[in-house]
């Protein structure tokens, strides 16, 4: 193989064909919030941990839907479960449960 000094760049594209539908379905069974989020961003805006680290329930949900499970885990790893997001969610999503469900589902993966 020859090293030309430039390489194929990995695609940033979300490939929905490769999304683990089972993970989404399992999580939806655990908490329907993963489906009912309307991406308003209230959770991220009010997040206590968000002041210190990149934390967002909205983005975590989206990441799971887009098959970026590791990113979802990262986005929630700094969560302190304070529950502000649950209070502000206009869809009434039990965000704390959803966060724990996502953490549990991808625990050790």
């Amino acid at each position: 193989m020859i090293d030309f000094g430039f390489y194929l760049t990995p695609s940033s594209t979300i490939d929905l064909d490769k999304v683990d539908r089972k993970a989404v379905d399992d999580l939806a069974r655990a908490d329907s919030g993963i489906r009912t989020c309307i991406a308003c961003g209230s959770c991220t805006a009010s997040c206590t941990a968000g002041v210190f680290a990149d934390t967002s329930v909205r983005q975590a949900i989206l990441s799971v839907l887009n098959g970026r499970n590791e990113k979802a885990r990262e986005l929630l790893s700094s969560c302190m479960l304070c529950g502000k997001c649950m209070m502000v969610c206009p869809r009434g999503i039990n965000t704390r449960h959803l966060i724990l469900s996502i953490q549990k589902y991808f625990d050790g993966q």
């Binding site: 193989m1 020859i2 090293d3 030309f4 000094g5 430039f6 390489y7 194929l8 760049t9 695609s11």
Partner: protein
């Protein structure tokens, strides 16, 4: 794929292409990498089909590459363009044909700019007067050389010695067309068949007996993308774009690729070598790559030109298997002979990409 649907769109995007009397300008890249293609164009239009295609030595680059790499301002480019048009006018022509897709895009964009901003046109005319002392003029028609060949495709077919048919199986060859981005993506009405389903190359392939295959990434850029290639740090993106296209077309097993853009012909050909040598991945039958031809090369082959006179030896992907399919005779020994018959020597062979 519903063919009638495409036909409907093609019928919506008809472009007027004059039959004769062109002022002809060359392509910087093609002169360097595929000089025989431009030679073939003149040989076919002037020699075989008897058209008046006038060329004069005073025309220059259109400035497109410099423009797209942000090294010269728009106004400069437009003045260069105005000079080209003025030269055409000076020689009594009003039909302008260019050999390069980047140039074609530049000309169309410039004319549209002038149409929308007449004050800019006046300013450029003044620039032209000041710098070159030439009379400002606009062409009646601007076409790309592929438009011209498209216009003449049936005449070429009537004189053809070969068809784009596999002589062993009798099946039409499967051809992937690649249209340069600046041909119709910017101004769909300026291209034959529009932007989404351009017909300019498809029409030629159909006329000459081949079969067009449409594949998902057909619309995607070849990867040249000016800054993507020209700056080495970005070159991986250029390669990745090409890779994406080849991955997408691979299942269709095309016999060759026809393209109407200088950069595309070059990159789709050369990047196959780079992908093969750096990734170990090859496309086409037996790891020999998929030949990439310009439309003049294809026309020349169909008309029975000697492949080596068409410059097919300058391609990275060896065209011999394609010539075999077409039933076109060639002399392997003469492949690397110079203009005066001297032996130029065979270039070093790649390891992964088979020849």
């Amino acid at each position: 794929m519903i063919y009638e649907g495409k036909q409907k769109i093609w019928s919506d995007y008809q472009k007027e292409i004059p039959d004769d009397h062109y002022y002809y300008v060359r392509s910087c890249i093609r002169q360097t990498f595929f000089p025989a293609s431009e030679g073939a164009l003149l040989k076919i239009t002037r020699g075989i089909l008897g058209r008046d295609v006038f060329e004069n030595e005073h025309h220059t680059t259109c400035g497109g590459i410099a423009y797209h790499t942000d090294t010269i301002p728009h106004e400069t480019v437009m003045t260069i363009v105005a000079r080209q048009f003025a030269l055409m006018h000076k020689h009594g022509y009003e039909n302008y044909v260019c050999s390069c897709i980047t140039s074609f895009g530049i000309y169309i964009e410039t004319l549209e700019t002038w149409r929308n901003f007449p004050e800019l046109e006046a300013k450029i005319a003044e620039n032209l007067k000041k710098t070159c002392n030439l009379e400002f003029a606009k062409p009646k028609f601007v076409v790309h050389t592929s438009d011209l060949i498209y216009k003449l495709r049936e005449e070429i077919a009537s004189k053809a010695k070969y068809k784009l048919v596999n002589v062993k199986t009798g099946q039409p060859l499967k051809v992937v067309e690649h249209i340069g981005c600046h041909y119709s993506k910017m101004f769909p009405s300026k291209g034959v068949g529009g932007a989404e389903y351009p017909y300019v190359l498809a029409g030629m392939v159909e006329a000459w007996g081949g079969e067009i295959v449409d594949y998902p990434e057909r619309r995607h850029c070849c990867g040249f993308g000016f800054r993507q290639y020209l700056i080495k740090a970005n070159r991986g993106y250029s390669l990745s774009n090409t890779h994406k296209k080849f991955e997408s077309m691979e299942p269709y097993e095309p016999d060759f690729i026809i393209t109407n853009c200088p950069g595309c012909a070059y990159f789709m050909d050369r990047w196959q070598y780079v992908i093969a040598e750096s990734q170990g991945k090859t496309y086409g039958e037996n790891g020999r790559g998929i030949p990439v031809l310009t439309y003049e090369e294809v026309a020349g082959l169909v008309l029975g030109f000697n492949p080596w006179d068409l410059g097919l030896q300058t391609h990275q992907v060896y065209v011999e298997p394609l010539l075999d399919k077409l039933g076109i005779p060639y002399e392997p020994a003469k492949k690397f002979l110079g203009a005066k018959g001297q032996d130029l020597g065979c270039p070093a062979l790649p390891t992964c990409l088979k020849v």
